[in-house]
């Protein structure tokens, strides 16, 4: 029984991964006086960040002679010429997020293109900052304890700092959270859309649509050593103000504690248990040599796919099938005609300015979410590739249209279905000796539901004088929301998680990422992932 295991005073708790979940689990453990050893890929961005001056996007474009380096990249890696796929649009200063993944965490698939990271801070470096509290029904469908999660949401919110507004969207965003900072200001794109919503509120609400300001892990007031959002619109390039929460902020703070030990350049391969300890075997990314570490407990927070690899390898379960969940995702590229050729904004914001929810049954369950963005701090050449006109004419059109561009990122709820699964297969050509193979296909009914949702959002946006020009489907896995590989269960079974996050058929191994979630709501997932990670760590001691 896990409860009979006594924590060794000599050995630390090992936390694998420094992303949103690893950072939260580690912070909880350290705050409880537990020694933590964090094992991490630890890739850092050091090339471009120092080049980016502290100024707004337009000023930089007009003045900075070195801008080509961080806008295009030294090897022009910022000009994606391939098919649109997950991560393709990361700006050069964000490309480090995916460094080394091909070599050390290979994935093969014909129909699933997830984004994984070995960076310090993991995928949290590219998080859109949207914070949503799941409803009781959603938590139940995720197999999460509502009481535990509600308390955990508050703890995490207080740590990371959240801005938001109590409005029509609040039941879907920051329900139950206190101490919200004021929302960021909207640009003319957001303001016009929201004004249209306010005029047509009752008609839209009759159809189940609710719009409001998103809750974002973004400061509008100072918090400790972090500054308010500076409206530089450099959100895809730089975190200089520290206004956006990134997990590396937590790691940086934890490194001041004598209880915390961070070891980078490591990819965890497997674990093995003995009577008094858990041993973790890693591959060093700088030397390709193996290294081992001993801990009293192991907390896996390597991301859903990373954790699946470690668990399958540790159980020598090659070719065993694990289910996987990933929210279907699409972009609606829209235009608000009233804003054509009207670049009058002083306020420019790269993060989501509005959220639109479709609660068609009115029960806060299976609610798809649209996040509304402007297209300001991106380069025109990204759009040229898709224009059928000549470059010169297309550029003139795009310049005129740019103030009116509105992008709606649409997240759909996700449930299990048979054609979504992972397997770890041996492959001697890989450094790790294996590769994860993924299959992901939506059933006919799921495809219909996605189409129906896109059509409903298109109609709702049209009512707000916002017209969809094009629907873009970047492929399965593009939502960067994954879960469900090791589902929560009350039975102590291999490849399942007990409600406290303990991996079935183990004594000392816990999982703090989204592997246990048995359902993924259409709402932003990250706050819930962090809350669960905190709850797992809190329960561990």
């Amino acid at each position: 029984m896990a409860a009979a295991i006594v924590m060794s005073t000599d050995l630390p708790v090992i936390v694998v991964g420094s992303g949103c979940t690893g950072a939260m689990a580690a912070q909880t453990l350290v705050e409880k006086g537990v020694r933590v050893l964090m094992l991490d890929g630890g890739v850092k961005e050091t090339k471009y960040a120092p080049l980016i001056p502290s100024a707004d996007f337009v000023t930089l474009r007009k003045t900075d002679e070195q801008q080509y380096r961080y806008l295009l990249g030294d090897a022009l890696e910022g000009i994606p010429f391939g098919k649109v796929k997950t991560g393709e649009h990361l700006t050069p200063p964000r490309k480090f997020m995916t460094a080394l993944t091909q070599q050390f965490i290979p994935l093969a698939s014909e129909n699933f293109m997830p984004l994984e990271s070995l960076a310090l801070g993991g995928l949290g470096n590219g998080w859109g900052l949207g914070c949503c509290v799941f409803s009781d029904k959603e938590l139940q469908a995720c197999s999460l304890n509502a009481g535990v999660m509600k308390a955990a949401y508050k703890t995490v919110a207080a740590r990371i700092g959240i801005s938001g507004t109590r409005d029509d969207a609040q039941p879907y965003t920051a329900a139950g959270l206190d101490g919200l900072q004021p929302s960021i200001q909207m640009d003319s794109n957001g303001k016009r859309l929201y004004a249209a919503y306010e005029k047509k509120r009752s008609r839209l609400q009759q159809k189940g649509f609710y719009m409001g300001r998103p809750s974002l892990a973004l400061l509008t007031q100072p918090k400790q050593d972090r500054s308010p959002y500076p409206y530089h619109d450099m959100d895809f390039y730089s975190d200089a103000s520290r206004s956006a929460y990134r997990p590396w902020l937590t790691i940086e703070a934890l490194q001041k504690s004598p209880l915390f030990n961070y070891q980078g350049n490591l990819v965890v391969l497997r674990f093995s248990e003995s009577d008094d300890a858990v041993t973790v075997t890693c591959l060093r990314t700088d030397t390709n040599e193996t290294a081992t570490f001993k801990g009293s407990r192991l907390v896996l927070a390597a991301g859903v796919l990373g954790t699946a690899r470690i668990v399958l390898r540790s159980f020598d379960a090659y070719e065993h099938t694990l289910p996987v969940l990933s929210n279907p995702y699409s972009y609606l590229a829209c235009i608000q005609p009233a804003l054509l050729g009207r670049d009058t904004d002083a306020v420019k914001v790269g993060f989501a300015q509005l959220s639109l929810f479709w609660d068609k049954r009115g029960d806060n369950m299976d609610v798809p979410m649209g996040s509304v963005y402007s297209y300001r701090s991106m380069m025109l050449f990204h759009l040229l590739k898709d224009s059928p006109l000549g470059v010169k004419t297309a550029a003139a059109f795009l310049r005129y249209m740019q103030p009116a561009f509105t992008i709606v990122g649409l997240f759909h709820p996700e449930k299990y279905s048979p054609a979504k699964y992972l397997q770890l297969q041996k492959n001697s050509t890989r450094l790790t000796g294996d590769e994860l193979q993924a299959t992901y296909r939506l059933s006919f009914e799921e495809q219909n539901t996605v189409s129906e949702t896109e059509t409903a959002f298109t109609r709702a946006l049209r009512q707000l004088n916002c017209f969809v020009l094009r629907k873009i489907e970047p492929g399965h896995g593009a939502s960067i929301h994954y879960g469900g590989t090791l589902p929560f269960s009350k039975q102590n079974e291999r490849f399942k998680l007990l409600p406290n996050g303990q991996l079935g058929d183990t004594q000392r191994v816990y999982v703090a990422d989204g592997s246990g979630f048995t359902y993924l709501p259409g709402k932003g997932l990250t706050l819930s992932l962090m809350a669960n990670a905190h709850a797992v760590a809190d329960n561990l001691v």
Binding site: V58, R61, K62, T63, D64, E65, Q67, Y68, L71, L72, A75, L76, G78, I79, F81, L340, G341, R342, D343, T344, R376, M379, L380, F381, L384, K385, D386, S387, P388, L389, G390, V391, K392, T393, A394, A395, A396, F397, R399, Y400, Q402, P403
Partner: protein, 125 residues
């Protein structure tokens, strides 16, 4: 593969077409580096260098092919590089213009379609 002198002639031509000015030394250097790193071979560029008046027609005609046409790919690389030059920023940043501008753009669009039709034979090169 084009040599450095030919690539410089190419970016000079593209820059004059796109921003009505010679490229900055930095843009010239970046274009040469980009095309030497990732060579893009097409006969159309060489033809257009010899007959610069054909450039707008080649641009319009290759629009429908997207990045699959090497000439279009080169022109977009040049565009991306010029977009990062502060001296040309005003050619690329959003502008505050009225509906009259929208009308003039419609005319430009029609003109582009005509140029694409006229430039179609260039794609046989």
């Amino acid at each position: 593969m084009l040599n450095e002198a030919e690539l410089k002639r190419e970016i000079e031509l593209f820059s004059r077409y796109l921003v009505a000015a010679s490229p900055t030394p930095q843009a010239e250097m970046l274009y040469v580096r980009a095309l030497q790193q990732q060579p893009v071979n097409d006969k159309l560029s060489q033809w257009v260098i010899r007959h610069p008046f054909l450039l707008p027609f080649a641009d319009a005609a290759t629009g429908l092919f997207g990045l699959q046409h090497p000439y279009r790919k080169k022109l977009i690389i040049a565009f991306a590089i010029l977009e990062t030059q502060p001296v040309f920023a005003h050619h690329f940043l959003p502008e505050n213009a009225g509906y009259a501008k929208g009308f003039s753009l419609l005319l430009k669009g029609i003109s582009s379609i005509i140029k694409a039709l006229l430039g179609w034979p260039l794609l046989l090169l």
